[in-house]
């Protein structure tokens, strides 16, 4: 595995007085899939949102320590969260397409970042993103139809297409399959495998089977602490911490 893409050092996150993330150190590799697992409320989503500074929108949220992307601290005052988010894309738990056409959904990111020089350029970017999100064949004849009219699984793939249209280096996925049926889940997992050939994917999931299926590395969070982080195979077959073992065998959580 190549050098780490994202590194967190002594990372603490607070919501007002609540200490949500406690002293987390983690290295996330490039061109791989890292899964965050843990019981509800353990802070895995909070930590995920810290990686592209989505927590900035919450007034009471405060982040201490450093998180670096390619060695640069993303919480440095010189960093513009807008540029950061163009490089670190995000897919949310509930599919949230804009109430616009399928084409406009995908074209929005490239448009605001000035990535397309011409209309045909933009069309190519949109087609490419939709193809990579494995939804092109289903929507190519109705790009003008509203994105909100698609099925749940299609909407989520559309959101993935929207996220990868800006050519991010890292894609953060916050329980992307929790609202989907098994078939749609399977399609998204295939897609994650495919995406990880080029970019680094971080996925938060409640399904341990999913974590085992798609990820190379797994991090187990419990009560705001990073309990264990290592190769997925090791975590699931030979956990070193008793809490991890309890969780994956179903005794806590």
């Amino acid at each position: 595995m190549s050098a780490s893409k994202i590194s967190a050092r002594a990372c603490n996150v607070f919501y007002g007085d609540t200490h949500a993330i406690k002293d987390v150190n983690v290295d996330i590799g490039s061109k791989s899939v890292t899964a965050f697992i843990g019981p509800s409320g353990c802070g895995k989503s909070t930590f995920l949102r810290s990686i592209n500074r989505m927590n900035d929108t919450i007034d009471t949220c405060r982040v201490e320590g450093t998180i670096t992307l390619d060695g640069e601290n993303i919480y440095d005052p010189r960093v513009d969260p807008v540029t950061l988010r163009a490089r670190v894309g995000m897919v949310f738990q509930k599919p949230n397409p804009f109430p616009k056409s399928i084409f406009d959904n995908v074209a929005y990111g490239p448009k605001i970042h000035g990535m397309a020089t011409s209309k045909s350029d933009l069309r190519d970017i949109v087609e490419n993103a939709l193809r990579r999100a494995a939804i092109w064949d289903e929507v190519k004849d109705r790009l003008d139809a509203p994105g909100t009219g698609l099925s749940g699984g299609q909407q989520q793939r559309l959101c993935i297409a929207r996220a990868i249209a800006t050519q991010p280096e890292v894609l953060l996925m916050d329980e992307p399959c929790s609202a989907l049926d098994p078939i749609a889940t399977f399609q998204i997992e295939e897609l994650i495998d495919d995406l990880a050939k080029n970019i680094s994917v971080v996925i938060v999931t409640h399904s341990m089977q999913q974590a085992a299926r798609v990820s190379q590395k797994t991090a187990f969070f419990h009560l705001g602490e990073l309990v264990e982080f290592g190769d997925t195979d090791d975590i699931f077959t030979n956990p070193s911490d008793p809490r991890t073992e309890s969780y994956i065998t179903g005794r806590i959580g």
Binding site: N52, V82, G89, M90, F92, N96, F98, P99, I112, C159
Partner: protein, 440 residues
Amino acid sequence: MTPRSKSLFVADPQTQSRKRADARFRLYGLAAILAGLVLLAVLLGTVISNGLGAFQQSYLTLEVELLESKLDKNGNRDIEEIKKVTTFGYDPLLTAAAERLIETHDIQTDLRAKDIAKLLSKSAVSDLRDFVIADPSRIGRSASFDFLVNARVDGYLKGRVTRESIADDKMISAEQLDAVDQLVAAGALVKRFNLDFILGSDASDQRPEAAGVGTAMLGSLAMMLVVLVLALPVGVAASIYLEEFAPKNRLTDLIEVNISNLAAVPSIVFGILGLAVFINILHLPMSAPLVGGLVLSLMTLPTIIISSRAAMKSVPPSIRDAALGVGASRMQAVFHHVLPLAAPGILTGTIIGLAQALGETAPLLLIGMVGFIASTAPETMGDALLAPNTALPAQIFEWAKRADPAFYERAWGGIIVLLVFLVAMNAVAILLRRRFERRW
């Protein structure tokens, strides 16, 4: 606990009483709605039956000879000399015309022609004078006019004035009404639709038949324009800032509470504020629609801010997340995604605020727009904003307090015009909502 009934077909006492309570509640609701509908029907019925008369007026057709001997003694058509002839100079022309009227229609009456001419509105002579001054070459010819008749005759045709009610009236006599009957039969005196009520200006106490709401409407329109230009951008900008950007702390909490409080402040307080600030300190002109518009803007702002914030709050946060997630700035997220989705709500709130402002009378009282007799229509945009004027509801109030019952009819007519505007504005609000509403 009561034992449960064994059969599904037999309801136990508790279920029965629950069902009865249910039925009673529905009955109350139905009764409330019915009462509301009946009151609405009564209201609309009264307004329409009382006010519809204002849209019709009676006219007498007269052939007037514009005698050179009376209007231009020197015969040189000098406009300055013609202007020196006052409306008194025109009276004999009308008397002569009335005389011919009696002859042509063979009216049987003991009255002199002068008394027949008195059936006309007091505005007839000035109309005649205006007609001559507009083009002095008309002197020496004769022309046909449809003159307004005075409010008593008009009221007689509309059934408001009867022979019993004029027993002590010095303005009109039974003989005159006999002549009126004959003129109506001859087709010279007719009642027809009166566009001047909608487009015209207010008239003095003596001439209710010539009064119209047009100028007051212009005043209201100018005020609405000021409100729209000031309150909409300021209100929307304030609500965007408060809803999307402002930190949540004590200061913003305080601002929020006070905006809600402002919405509940009696409108006359805004009038006092307008008088103190805009007129006494800034020395803006009294009775000007600009000042009225400023006062109404202050009054409408809280409504617009509250409804805009509610509209923006109802946009799901996932849309903001989605926009920020692909790297939109906060402003882009607001302007590209939140505002378009909130637009129908913002527009509806604005139009309802405007409709409220349109019907507002109390604050205008203090800045001198109530009681101002708007007898001339503004000619330029500047005049429309700065020249003294009144507003629709103020005009209605003004007419309602005048003595002549003919003005009372016009007050009701003004209410119809105002209601038509309000209904139209609310219809626009509903249409906009339907047109722009999107689902997510």
